[in-house]
Amino acid sequence: MVFKNKGEIDRILSALGEQLAAAKSEPLDLLVCGGSALHALHLVTRTTKDVDVVAKITGGSGDMLRPDPFPPALAEAVKKVARDFGLKDDWFNPGPASALDFGLPEGVLGRAEVVKYGSCLTVRFFSRYDQIHFKLYAAVDQGGKHYADLLELKPSPEELLAAAKWSMTHDVSEGYKGELKRILTEMGRQDVAERI
């Protein structure tokens, strides 16, 4: 099964929230990026197969921690939802957790769209602005669907510039900078490429 729209993502995440509540899990507050977050904000039309968890939010101050490995109650709930809806086993995964090691865009939590799925699961979906940051970095690195997503987000020059500067903190190599400039130029944003 793949997620085609926000309704399907909400249905599956509601099921996950119910499983966590049934297992009497501690409340979990997770920051999510990727295709599912794009759907949650109605920003793209393509399908996606998974939900990428970037960080676990703890305490009232909103500290962000790596979400991996998932706590046993969450891992078990993910497995049950996969079984019940015919999803792949890692449909809910901490794949992009390493991004946290280099830092997320400043103010990411404040911009995130917060959705509560029952009493045990809160999901914060990346805002459009932060998706542009991640998608630009991924487009330089991998191209393909990430480049297509980036185009669909229709970033402004200022948004692209902020994203480019942030992405260079994740990869400080000259090789990356050169590739970044090439991608920006291909997008018709030579003006931005010249400013980095």
């Binding site: 119910e18 049934a22 019940d84 809806f85 015919g86």
Partner: protein, 349 residues
């Protein structure tokens, strides 16, 4: 189909299955002879009493059977099952054993178990509830205190005074479903007959493996195996540090029952299987009173069905997979009943 209807249909199937098992043990003097597995009276008793709270006739027939055949039960295995299952089981078994004791039962046999049941479910924590429920799960009316059965009341269960109308029948001892009883008659109730039964239905095993399967403590099983091996009829096979015990099926089956291989009964881990059925029953019973979403109800039902399926698979019975999840709850329930019919061998229309 509503979940209440599903619950009632599941109950019907479980009750019919249990009647068939007890018939093999001589209840009602019948024996269908259709089953091809070895009965486990301790596990059967514990699960039957749980389900028979909704089938008083079966409950009282089992009590009558116990009055006549109670000496065949292995109290150590029963103790281990009660301990494993916890307070609700302890409460129910406590009432039953107290009834047996109050009606001329052997105090040396039952008193320690009654004490265990009391300990697992102490009087101070008991609120009296009706023992029996109707098929829809509604409790029977409480009997007035002077007409309530004192043995059950002691364990917080209210039922009218029990009068056994017809004495139970002796268990038919045979080398098929009741092979366990035959071996208990031969070797006495206890580890020896359990171990021989296990070895007669398996190619051989380590002491720990046997102990886990028969529900007895492994050190005792180890010692009994050492004793049995001195007879020269239970044999030892060494592979490095691994020691397997085994016996010659040919010789033993010729002695116990000179019949063909096909009619030999199979071993099943009834303790695990009945625990899985109990989990299924309790899940469905709880879901009928739960305000969980349709999704959660289906998901929890699926958990229980998978447990039943895995226990039968572990026992070497191919019963297929339970219905796929992701169906509508009505279709899921309908297909799960069809799946259970394969296991319970029910003949419902």
């Amino acid at each position: 189909m509503s979940l209440n209807e599903y619950r009632e249909q599941l109950l019907d199937r479980l009750v019919n299955f249990l009647w068939r098992q007890w018939s093999c043990l001589g209840l009602l003097g019948e024996s269908s002879g259709d089953e091809d597995w070895v009965m486990d009276p301790e596990s059967l008793l514990v699960f039957s009493l749980e389900i028979a709270r909704c089938e008083p006739r079966l409950f009282d027939e089992i009590l009558a059977w116990l009055e006549v055949n109670g000496q065949w039960l292995d109290t150590t295995r029963l103790r281990n099952i009660i301990t494993l299952r916890g307070e609700n089981t302890a409460r129910l078994i406590g009432g039953v054993l107290q009834h047996l004791l109050d009606n001329g039962g052997d105090a040396r046999r039952w008193q320690n178990l009654i004490n265990l049941c009391d300990k697992l479910n102490p009087g101070s924590s008991r609120k009296v509830e009706a023992l029996f429920k109707d098929k829809a799960g509604q409790p029977h009316p409480m009997a007035p205190k002077e007409k309530a059965d004192a043995a059950f009341l002691k364990f917080g269960l209210n039922r009218p005074v029990l009068k056994i109308q017809k004495a139970g029948k002796d268990v038919p001892v045979n080398a098929k479903t009741n092979l366990r009883f035959l071996l208990r008659a031969l070797f006495g109730v206890g580890g020896k007959s359990e171990i021989v039964l296990y070895l007669m239905t398996h190619e051989g095993a380590r002491p720990k493996e046997i102990a886990d399967a028969i529900g007895l403590f492994w050190l005792g099983v180890h010692q009994t195996l050492l004793d049995l091996s001195k007879s020269g009829l239970v044999l030892v096979r060494r592979k490095g540090k691994k020691v397997d015990y085994w016996l010659s099926h040919k010789k033993w089956w010729e002695f116990i029952s000179p019949s063909s291989d096909e009619s030999r009964p199979k071993w099943l881990d009834w303790t695990a299987i009945f625990a899985a059925f109990s989990n299924l029953w309790q899940t469905v019973d709880a879901l009928t009173q739960s305000d969980a979403s349709e999704y959660m109800k289906s998901s929890r039902l699926q958990d229980s069905l998978e447990l039943v399926s895995s226990e039968f698979s572990r026992a070497g019975f191919d019963i297929g997979n339970p219905p796929s999840p992701g169906l509508t709850s009505e279709l899921h329930q309908k297909m799960s009943l069809a799946f259970l019919e394969k296991i319970l061998g029910d003949e419902h229309e």
